[in-house]
Amino acid sequence: MAVVTCTGCSLLCDDIEAAVTNEKLSHIKNLCRKGHGHFQAVFSERTVPMVNGQKVSMDEAISRAAEILKSAKNPLLYGWSNCTLEAQAAGIRLAEKLGATIDDTSSFCQGILMERILDGRIPTCTLDDVRNYADTSIFWGADPSNSHPRHLSRFSYYPRGEKRQKSYEEERTCIAVDVRHSATAEICGNYYFRVPPGGDADFMEAVLAVLEGKIPRVADKKKMIELGSILKKTEYGVIFPGLGMIYSMQDKMDLFERLMARLNEITAFKAVPMVGHYNMRGFNELLREKTGFINSVSFRGGKPSHGPEQSVIAAAKSCDAALVIGSDPLSALPFATAKALAGVPLIAIDPRRSLATDAAAVTIPSAISGLEAGGTAVRMDGVRVKFEPFLKTDLPTDEQILTGIMEAI
């Protein structure tokens, strides 16, 4: 039996007890349902090295991938959010060497918030701070009961913390702001605030109004005034923005900044983005360190440039070859973007079969990080987590494959 880290989501739970006997999980403790699916994935639908639908050796697959990237004029390197920091660093070096465009999943999810967090424009804290100090947690456009199943039990609601010994029974309040009465909203009971699709900015304005002692422009004024009272009485509050809030706000994120600033005039309030993939934040931090930008960067011409035209949504249309790793864009992106990517020579580095590996000119199997390969990742709250593999494999890591491609180029 080993104690391992789950790379199934950005909580990076490091207390998983696991044992494998005869290629089956024979002992598991502390793993959520989502993590269980992640661990089970080790035993099915594994990829093999392929070029144009034919099985080849690993060396041949790497060599062909290098040829495709070398001959491309405008290659795109996309994915990265399910890769270790070590692999991400190798990927950024490869993009620089190729003069390629590099982007991760954050450009169409948490990026616009993460940029503000990393710039220090929105105050943040660790999940350990949440467990120890938070008395109010707001899940805004987020449903951790389905997306991050152990969030409430490890950090934000149920556990006893240093200054929260009475926990959810007396000392913690959780609030849900969502378009849907989600599983998390159910836990929040009366503190569920329903917003219409796209209505988050109006809700924020109403919160700002009650904080100023004004009458909010909402149907249920009494409930909104009650929310204002809770916020004012909060000793240490945390907002967890999910994609529901991000997609609704988009170019109005300054309003969220304003709300956070106003709350911090009254009391301590932090924001922790509900990052999905286990190391999206790691990629954002690494690329920012290298280029000043968290995502969507082109190294064409030697100098990094950044903008929406470098995001995967736009770059999928302009690239003439793509390498995808740590993500399946054909499953996760809009149809037209997926179709564009499926139409160029595609290199898919993936431990398991996906729509991208089925469409790829070159498929390169890799070890599953966290389970078969060690490395480092950055949790959603910025805490670095180092993990060791607990299953043996002969497969190379993502980092080794990328280094092999770079050497072949």
Binding site: V179, D251, P334, K339
Partner: protein, 139 residues
Amino acid sequence: MAEEVAVTIVTVRDIFQDEAGRKSRFSDEYRDLSARILLDKQDMAALGAKDGQRLLVTGQPQQGGAASIVVAAKADEEEAHPGLAFMYNSPWSNQLVSEPSGGAGGEGAIPGFKSIRAAVSVTDGDVTSISELFSRMRG
């Protein structure tokens, strides 16, 4: 009964569907949990649909193909929300997501994953398979 009901689809997460997708994106279990639309009971009644009824969901016309899929209906047990439907985030819902064409960020802006405008009608067709979705991408 209405031949067609207009809805805005918001994609959401579901832990059971997520687990199934991690085990296999090509399994019947993943298809059954993904190729479904949660409709308000009033909209279900307007269509004369019950749980499991196959529905044709047609999104906005978009570059590269017809944005329509066949999924199974499921009545949402939550509070009333006529005109608002939910789908679990998947390759099926992504068939309906239009790409951004303007505004801040232009073509590189965030697509409307949680604001899909669509028309829903009853059909006898089969639920769209993952292989059909893949063929459309390759076509």
